[in-house]
Amino acid sequence: MKPLWTVLALTTALTLPSIAAAREVTLTTTLREYRGENAFLALYMTDASGAYVGSLWLAASKARWYDSLSDWYRATGGSYAEVSGITGASVGAGRTLTVTLDLADALIDAGYQIHIDTAVEHLYSSPSEIVVPLTSEGAGTPVAGRAIIDSFTYSM
């Protein structure tokens, strides 16, 4: 999948004071070879207490299935405003989703966590299948999922 460029500017926590205070981060998510339809993924961030701060990417072709991404849905109410401009197609089994975006420096090494909710129609959903802190140190280290994500890595 080709890299997708985006600037997060929707929520207070992620708002960039200036582009200079941001860093380019690439999120790479590879799915397992499961049997079933394409998966929906919600990539978003929480603070250290687990409270939602903003969405990074939503891979779900149809709004109909937003609620099966249940942690993300619980935090956002499935609001389209949360993901306007940062949505893309659902992802097939064995495929890799790569998202590149500019993240504010203030989010890095500050206890913020990247969450990924996943769901497959007619199969199952896995809220917060990935929960990983966003740290300089953790960059480049693959993390295994507990449902359909084979590995998740972020690099900066």
Binding site: Y34, R35, S49, K62, R64, D67, G78, Y124, S128
Partner: protein, 732 residues
């Protein structure tokens, strides 16, 4: 309008709709067989505890609307594992069986394997399905003579049309329901139909863990059958919660206290979707689903019969060369709905052309009196549709007659076509005649009627038209050569050789049938006893018609021919030897078919008229009660089909055989035999029997008188029976 919409919505979508319907019918079987479905005495807390005991790594318990419960767990080696759970006990029944075929069928059903593009095609087809049912019902109401008559028995017309209507009436409710629910669900898939329940507000978590599921107050008393999904908290995260979704709503449960942290009732849109889903899939109401699934199988049948109707209609479209309206002496205007009246009009056109006249043939809707400058007469041949409505090709005719400043100089002849089985027989043609009279249009001859496409009255009418025109018209000249085939005689049986009325049963080999005829089921590709064989004698251009005594299934073409003194065609036919050939064509005569049904048949025939009746008995494999009254001259040498009739009587193909001999002592005719049998005949009629008569005009009159007497005590008569389609005559 309805017809055009119906046809052009149906043709391109027949295949798509048939695929969707067949796959849907198959899918409707699935909810009948769900592993582990059954009643449970456990509440959701106890049940979930049993599931966790059986599958310790459970992260999610799900229940489909069809009643299958599964536990989802994670195995680092293979990924997610889904285990079927027995709904009654919570015990594990083994991994979920893979159903690649069901998945394949579902993909075909929803998207024709084409993803979103396919989904859109299916959506358009579903919309078209609704349009088809609505326009189809409008057509049916027109055909049947009103919305109230729409569920009356279907009579008349070609078999494909009758079946189309009968299947449609059965299948329409399920087709509409399935289409509308499909559109609703597709609307949700594409985000047009709102869906989803807003998540509830949540009070803070306790931060503790380890509460047993069967001790949780939030799960106590919740029926297992209400469950949609129970999502377990992420292991090792004390802030995570249980998320419970049931048919009642969505709630969050604290993993340490088991208390409800928030609750939202299921939204109205989700409840509507639950009902729509239930109605469309039968998941949760398997028998209803099966009923709907079977009903939508009407769709492929409707496609087939609909295409047959369309092909039959196409082959009836006008195709002769036409004189321009300004130059023709005779203007023939046709008001026809399905196209049968065009056949009569073309026959008339060809006959007038053959007699040296010029004809302009046009639909009544093209009526333009100002253009008819050379016209000496205007002939209107008009069918009625349903409740006396204007047929499709006559739209606007009456208005234009009413608006004429002065009537055309050329006088008018009106011939109405209809079927006495319908309530307003020939009502439209009558309206035409009245309007013409009101406009002061001079009539060439009085208006006349043709009932049920009968050939003989049409011939008579053409004779009168010829007299009025001062010419001689040869109605059967028009046989187009492409319809003619060569028939080879296989065998002949002769009767009454010594009498003045020698009669032969001639049996011909089935001709070769072209692929096109086979596909369109026309010509010799499909015929039954009672249809007509048009024979072209050598040295003449006029066809002579004989009723067929055999059907396609008998594997031969058989007719009875009585040698007429000086008769050209009958003389040639009765002198044929096996191996000799004749030129002939097939003319369907649906008005004189032994329509299927359990009710008894009373067949009455004299002389060669026994031919089609014998054919009905021969085809009577299902042994419906057929009572044959056969009049002939004597028992010696004049019993047509004698040995077969005895045989069929023994086999039960004939329930009874009554003969009347007009040259034996005492002389009896079939009408005498009927009178003697009056009580039985009356009781058969009371059972719903249908009467079919074949023979000469005098015999038919005598038989009608006999029936008048027999039926009088029942307040019935042949005319009333005719109106019900229960008294039909084939007279020569």
């Amino acid at each position: 309008m309805s017809r055009i919409l119906h046809r052009w919505a149906a043709l391109p979508l027949a295949l798509v709709l048939s695929l969707v319907a067949i796959s849907g019918a198959w899918l409707s079987l699935l909810p009948l067989n769900v592993a582990g479905a059954g009643d449970s005495s456990l509440d959701l807390g106890q049940f979930a505890a049993q599931v966790v005991a059986a599958v310790p790594a459970t992260e999610q318990i799900r229940r489909t609307p069809a009643g299958q419960v599964t536990a989802v767990s994670f195995d680092p080696a293979v990924g997610m594992v889904e285990t079927v759970i027995d709904q009654a006990s919570g015990a594990a029944l083994g991994p979920v069986a893979e159903t690649p075929f069901a998945t394949w069928v579902l993909d075909l059903h929803r998207a024709l394997f084409l993803g979103d593009a396919g989904r859109i095609v299916v959506i358009v087809a579903s919309l078209a399905m609704v349009a088809l049912v609505v326009s189809g019902l409008a057509l049916a109401a027109r055909r049947m003579g009103g919305w109230r008559a729409i569920f009356l028995p279907v009579r008349g017309g070609a078999a494909s049309g009758r079946w189309h209507l009968m299947i449609a009436r059965l299948g329409a409710p399920a087709l509409v329901l399935s289409s509308l629910t499909a559109l609703w669900m597709a609307g949700a898939t594409f985000g047009i139909v709102p869906e989803g329940t807003m998540p509830p507000e949540m009070t803070p978590v306790s931060g503790t863990t380890g509460m047993r599921l069967d001790a949780m107050s939030a799960l106590a008393g919740v029926p297992v059958t209400d469950l949609l999904q129970l999502q377990f908290p992420r292991a090792g995260d004390a802030n995570a919660i249980y998320t419970l979704e049931t048919t009642a709503g969505i709630g969050y449960i604290d993993q340490g206290t088991g208390a409800l942290l928030g609750w939202a009732d299921r939204s109205l849109t989700d409840r509507i979707m639950d009902t729509v889903h239930l109605l469309h899939t039968g998941e949760g109401a398997a028998l209803l689903g099966l009923l709907l699934g079977l009903s939508v199988l009407a769709m492929p049948l409707l496609s087939g019969t609909g295409i047959a109707v369309w092909l039959a209609g196409r082959s009836r479209k006008p195709k002769l060369k036409n004189t321009a309206a300004e130059e023709a002496e005779t203007i023939v205007l046709v008001g026809s709905e399905g196209g049968t009246t065009w056949e009569f009009a073309r026959a008339l056109q060809a006959a007038i052309t053959a007699a040296g006249g010029t004809v302009h043939l046009a639909p009544m809707s093209d009526f333009e009196p100002a253009r008819y400058r050379a016209a000496r007469r205007v002939v209107v041949m008009a069918a009625s549709y349903g409740d006396g409505d204007a047929p499709a090709s006559a739209k606007g005719f009456l208005d234009r007659v009413g608006q004429m400043p002065k009537p055309p100089a050329a006088p008018l002849a009106v011939l109405g076509f209809g079927d006495r089985a319908f309530p307003k027989f020939c009502a439209y043609a009558e309206a035409v005649a009245r309007a013409a009279e009101a406009a002061g249009w001079h009539m060439l001859m009085p208006m006349d009627y043709i009932d049920a496409q009968a050939q003989a009255p049409f011939k008579t009418w053409v004779g009168r038209l010829a007299d009025a025109m001062g010419v001689s018209l040869d109605l059967h000249a028009p046989a187009s050569h492409e319809e003619m085939v060569t028939l080879q005689l296989i065998s002949r049986r002769d009767f009454g050789a010594q009498s003045q009325a020698p009669t032969s049963i001639l049996r011909f080999q089935l001709p070769r049938i072209s692929l096109m005829d086979r596909l369109r089921k026309r010509g010799f590709a499909r015929f039954a006893a009672g249809d007509l064989l048009g024979v072209l004698p050598v040295g003449d251009s006029r066809l002579r018609y004989y009723s067929l005594a055999s059907g396609m299934q008998d594997g031969f073409v058989e007719i009875c021919v009585r040698k007429q003194p000086g008769g050209l065609c009958s003389g040639q036919l009765t002198s044929l030897n096996p191996g000799d050939q004749v030129r002939a064509l097939l003319r369907p005569n649906p008005g004189f078919h032994a329509a299927e049904g359990p009710e008894p048949l009373i067949l009455i025939g004299a002389g060669a008229g026994v031919g089609p009746l014998a054919g009905f008995a021969r085809a009577n494999r299902q042994k419906r009660p057929i009572h044959l009254y056969f009049g002939t001259r004597s028992a010696e040498g004049e019993m047509l089909f004698g040995s077969e009739l005895t045989e069929w009587r023994a086999e039960g193909r004939l329930a009874s055989l009554t003969t009347a001999f007009s040259r034996s002592q005492p002389r009896t005719y079939v009408q005498d035999a009927l009178r003697q049998d009056g009580a039985r005949v009356a009781s058969l009629i009371a059972q719903g029997a249908r009467v079919m008569i074949c023979g000469g005009r005098d015999m038919a009159l005598g038989v009608a008188e006999a029936f008048d007497e027999i039926l009088a005590p029942m307040n019935l008569n042949p005319v009333l029976l005719k109106a019900e389609g229960r008294y039909v005559e084939d007279i020569f």
